[in-house]
């Protein structure tokens, strides 16, 4: 008896070691990218200058460039990456399908449309924009849920309904941008595919607070989430309050998503990519929440660095993540089709 369990325990320990190792590497990578974001720019400042600025010292030139421009940009990228990564993987795990993520089924578009509505039509304050953005996200979830439940619920139908809703919300955003006469490219880019340009320190607190509050809740539920992945019946018989868990998970995820979207726009495909990449790295059977969060940060920061410095022109972050994410989505579809999973 004891002997037959031995290899299983051994395996489990090995997997845990792998998860810890992967998480540490991802963390180091995210940290390096964050530091790079602060150092790179028109003028490159050495680490020492950056650290002095962060500790509140006045460094000529660096204080403005790093403190006022690069720091908010980096923080927005970090927190948006966390939010998109976590929310994406929560949805994918809960619905047991990589396609069922906030990007593909249009939840981020819902928040984005609501934020644009708040800014353009109501000319609301930042706080209020955050609130409507949350409402927009939650309403989109509810709409998708009620429209796709019906007699024969399937993830396929949910995805189809989500794509339909997304088409409509994109029309709403286009319309709002048009009537606002703010149809300049920067604004349009931000609200259709996400950008870190022009993020200000004052707009960050809601997003940071939301991540700080929701992350513990989601981590607390990560065990239940893993059990939910085994299916409704198994989860119930293992004592998981399935509905309550789901509602909590969804609300916490949408809260983060909506605030991230209100700050940076719906950065394309980060929520879609983070989960599968994290899963590939840590292997099956481990919670992907922390790794996916870190992958989200890495994706956003790396894409933003590439967008800013790799080409002669400066691209917003969403264009770069879109160019990576969309081909991966196509690849995933081809693979799923081949295996007859769709």
């Amino acid at each position: 008896m004891n002997q037959s369990i031995q290899p299983i325990i051994h395996n489990s320990r090995k997997r845990r070691q792998r998860t810890v190792f992967v998480t540490l590497v991802l963390f180091a990578l995210a940290l390096t990218l964050s530091a790079t974001m602060l150092m790179l720019g028109n003028t490159i400042y050495p680490v020492t200058d950056v650290i002095r600025v962060l500790f509140g010292e006045q460094v000529p030139g660096a204080s403005f460039a790093v403190g006022t421009i690069r720091l908010p940009r980096m923080l927005a990228g970090v927190f948006a990456g966390l939010a998109f990564g976590i929310a994406g993987t929560v949805f994918q795990t809960m619905l047991r399908n990589p396609l069922a993520n906030p990007n593909v089924i249009g939840i981020t578009t819902g928040s984005s449309a609501a934020a644009v509505f708040g800014i353009v039509v109501l000319q609301a304050s930042d706080t209020f924009v955050s609130i409507i953005s949350i409402i927009g996200g939650l309403l989109t979830v509810l709409a998708i849920y009620f429209l796709s439940k019906g007699a024969a619920f399937s993830i396929g139908r949910l995805v189809l309904v989500g794509i339909g809703i997304q088409a409509m919300l994109t029309a709403v955003i286009n319309y709002l941008l048009l009537i606002s006469r703010q149809n300049d490219v920067g604004t349009a880019m931000r609200w259709l595919s996400g950008s870190l340009n022009g993020v200000k320190m004052e707009t960050l607190p809601p997003l940071m607070i939301a991540v700080a509050l929701c992350l513990p809740v989601i981590l607390r539920l990560s065990r239940q989430l893993q059990i939910l992945e085994l299916g409704e019946m198994t989860a119930t018989s293992l004592g998981v309050k399935t509905n309550q868990t789901r509602v909590l998970l969804i609300v916490a995820s949408v809260l983060m998503l909506a605030l991230a979207t209100a700050t940076t726009g719906p950065i394309a495909f980060v929520a879609f990519l983070a989960g599968p990449i994290a899963k590939r790295l840590v292997g099956d059977g481990r919670s992907t929440i922390i790794p996916a969060a870190l992958v989200g940060v890495i994706l956003v920061l790396a894409a933003d660095l590439i967008g800013q410095f790799a080409f002669t022109a400066r691209y917003p972050v969403g264009v770069i993540t879109g160019m990576v994410g969309a081909p991966y989505l196509i690849y995933l579809l081809i693979r799923m089709n081949r295996r007859g999973e769709l």
Binding site: S148, S154, G164, Y175, F269, F311, P316, G325, L342
Partner: protein, 339 residues
């Protein structure tokens, strides 16, 4: 083989046809009359039939004639294109915008503007057609991999993913080139307002060619609807038929997209409305889809002008807003295998 030659009595079809024509005329007259400056009946007649009369209103009407004819052609082309795609794929959710064909056309137009300095309607059209054809082939290819052929879910997903990939490329090409962006922005919304005599003439050969092919293919498409095996047994060359019919579909929507910009959902909506009323005979569906598409687009254009007055709301936005709920309604009806 006794194909049911008359699924509907010609009398009833005649009635429907007459109704559709009346509706079309009403929409076209409205398109001539309404706008940021509404024109009265007398001036309308002046503008149309009395070329000697010179007045401000009459001139407006004459200007709007071009726009109206152009929106008629685009609507008809999109309607027929949707009907063809739906019947070739035997899939209720097929529409150029959903399948990403519009974005494919858009990408090629942008490449043309950016790298080949194209700027006239006749240049646009060739680039857009090439883009539309390649994208359609790609999306159909991905969408029909694996078991069960092209199911609605597979096609829509393949279309959405391809669309997302291509629009990232569009952005990447555009952002460093502000002149391209300016040209492209107006095209990208989807509007019939930019239609000129020149664009109508450029459109005409593709329009006529596409519709003629569609009408000729209709009887065979009827047989295809019975199932591929049966159709082969009845002597239909399925491969050739599908190729020709989808080619015509892509030509029609590609040309319309090249000139008016991406206009979504007309191709989805028109054939469905038609099928609701007259049933499943392609020989009637195709011409009726042309009329219905023209009615819908012209109506949406007028609505956009009234809603957006004193400016206008581009027709692409209006159709997306009305069409997307219909898409959702359809997805709730189609069979989707559990994933």
């Amino acid at each position: 083989m006794n194909m049911p030659k008359k699924l509907h009595t010609p009398k009833r079809f005649g009635l429907l046809l007459a109704g559709a024509l009346v509706l079309l005329v009403v929409c076209m007259l409205a398109s001539l009359a309404f706008g940021s400056r509404t024109v009265g009946w007398d001036e309308l007649l002046d503008g149309l039939f009395r070329p000697a009369v010179q007045s401000y209103e009459a001139d407006i009407v004459r200007q709007r004639v071009v726009r109206t004819v152009f929106s008629f052609m685009c609507g008809a082309a999109l309607g027929v294109s949707g009907a063809l795609m739906q019947s070739v794929t035997r899939n209720p959710i097929a529409d150029p915008s959903i399948l990403g064909v519009n974005t494919g056309a858009a990408l090629f137009v942008v490449v043309g503007i950016a790298f080949f300095n194209i700027s006239t309607a006749s240049d646009y059209i060739w680039f857009a057609l090439a883009g539309a054809l390649l994208t359609a082939a790609f999306v159909f290819g991905i969408g029909s991999l694996g078991r069960g052929g092209s199911t609605p879910l597979k096609l829509v997903l393949a279309g959405a993913a391809t669309s997302a990939a291509l629009s990232s490329l569009v952005m990447a090409i555009m952002i460093p080139r502000s002149n391209v962006m300016d040209q492209f922005r107006f095209w990208q919304v989807g509007s019939v307002g930019a239609g000129t005599m020149d664009s109508i003439m450029t459109f005409l050969p593709f329009f006529i060619g596409g519709i003629v092919i569609a009408i000729l293919a209709a009887p065979s498409l009827n047989i295809l609807a019975l199932g591929e095996e049966l159709a082969t047994g009845l002597g239909v060359r399925i491969g050739t038929l599908k190729l020709i019919a989808s080619f015509a579909g892509v030509i029609l929507c590609g040309a319309a997209t090249a000139l008016a910009g991406p206009i979504g959902f007309i191709g989805l909506l028109a054939p469905h409305l038609v099928r609701l009323v007259i049933g499943a005979d392609e020989r009637y569906i195709i011409p009726m889809s042309a009329l219905t598409g023209a009615i819908l687009l012209t109506f949406a254009d007028v609505a956009g002008r009234l809603l957006g007055s004193p400016g206008e709301l581009e027709v692409g936005i209006v159709t997306a807003f009305v069409g997307a709920p219909i898409l959702i309604a359809l997805t709730m009806k189609v069979k989707v295998r559990g994933v």
